[in-house]
């Protein structure tokens, strides 16, 4: 296990110096700053004001940006190391494949999760300073949902990264995953419903299987118990499952899915050619 922590620590140090991390930090930090500057916390849009409005906007942006950021930066992790012969050298030392793979995963999880939560905490703190009430439970559940989102996309990214040998193909595959999941959040589902090509059950099942949709529904359910701003699928889900069950599902399902993909990636990594 000491090698697992060693790999994780060095991966964090390396990532902290990298350009992609700087961009990542700037995007989420800058996003919060932009919300403050444009007065989003004070505006009234669709009935949301103050902190709720800030979090709603933050969620809408996060659901689009976070998955593609995680996918693109993480698929490089193993596929690029393999292509540039870094993997060949680093794995010529007595480090087990388990320690190397999960160490990389742990390091990358910290790097991806930390700035997002930091931006969230800063946003809430700023809102509280401006006189809003500090919504501790909302902050906690929202952080849990972000954790689940990071887990599922990191798992998928590591799976792609180990499966695909070329860095370019890995990037392409991650983009296809992202655009497919994005297409199947409510907008596409409504389109499908309108065309009446599928049963409602199929549409609901697709929604429940899409981690992006699950995050979106769970996050909005936090401060809009009726899910009035979302599409009919989200409303149907809330009606069928209830708010608490939906929130539990929005956390558990992506985490389980992320672990599944991460293990599948490890299985492949440890049983096939490494180079």
């Amino acid at each position: 296990m000491k090698n697992l922590f060693l790999v994780a620590k060095l991966d964090i140090k390396e990532s902290l110096r990298s350009r992609w991390f700087l961009v990542y930090l700037t995007v989420f930090g800058g996003m919060m700053a932009l919300f403050f500057v444009t007065g989003i916390t004070d505006s009234v849009v669709m009935g949301f004001t103050g902190l709720s409005r800030l979090l709603l906007i933050y969620m809408q942006v996060t659901v689009v940006i976070l998955p593609i950021f995680i996918l693109i930066t993480t698929v490089k992790s193993i596929s690029q190391d393999r292509e540039s012969a870094i993997l060949e050298y680093m794995l010529s030392f007595p480090v087990s494949l388990f320690d190397y793979y999960w160490g990389k995963m742990a390091g990358r999880f910290f790097i991806v999760f930390f700035p997002v939560v930091l931006a969230l905490v800063l946003g809430v703190a700023w809102g509280a300073l401006k006189g809003g009430e500090l919504p501790w439970s909302m902050l906690l559940i929202y952080s849990a949902l972000l954790f689940a989102m990071c887990a599922v996309f990191l798992g998928i990214a590591f799976f792609i990264s180990t499966l695909v040998k070329s860095h370019d193909v890995a990037l392409g595959a991650s983009f296809v995953v992202w655009i497919t999941l994005l297409a199947f959040i409510d907008i596409a589902l409504i389109g499908l419903m309108l065309q009446n090509r599928f049963d409602d059950e199929i549409i609901i099942s697709i929604a429940l299987l899409n981690p992006m949709e699950v995050f979106r529904v769970g996050a909005v359910a936090l401060f809009d118990p009726e899910l009035t701003v979302m599409g009919p699928v989200a409303y149907f889900l809330l009606d069928s499952f209830g708010r608490t069950n939906l929130l539990v599902y929005a956390f558990v399902y992506p985490v389980v899915l992320g672990i599944f993909f991460a293990w599948a990636g490890y299985w492949y990594f440890s049983r096939k050619d490494l180079l």
Partner: protein, 213 residues
Amino acid sequence: MIRIEKATKKFMGATVLDSVSVTFLPGDKVALMGPNGAGKTTLVRSVLGFYRLDGGEIEVFGNSPYQKRTAVLERIAFIPQTPPPIKLSVKELCEYISKSSGVEVERIAAEADRMDLDLKGNGDKPFFKLSGGMKQKLLIAIALSRKSDIFIFDEPTANLDPKARERFYALLKELNPESIAVYITHRIEELGDLVNRTVYMDLGKITEDRRIA
């Protein structure tokens, strides 16, 4: 001892190792030669556990490189042909090697010093930003500091100037006589009296295996 028995490896249907059988014994200093695509690197990578064989088996001191990976790699020091663009700093890379392989950083620094490389002065630089020669010197220092039973060098002098090359060959003469050293090379004349065995490969087979008196 490295025992390779009927090792066969195919990539996309093409046979790269064709039932290769060879044994390297303690004290063997081997020049592994052959044209590009002969299967030299594939053979070495299989010994290091990077490739899974389609047939045959490999044992390193009685252990399979796949099943007892870390036990095998504890006994092998490896220098790749081209220094990889590792983004860790020199200090971090040394920490990785020190903690994973049980080698003291001071020992790496001492070997680097013998290769005319100032490790402490370059500690904070990212490895990939060192010059080609400095990178290769560091990889050599790391490999020699491990005092392994097996050394595998894949064209280790490709990036070295003549002076550094001479120094490297001088250091190789200090290797434990009982250790196994495998040099993948195209320039046998440079290795001179460093080797006592030459193995030629072509089209995935060993075509000649000769001991030098």
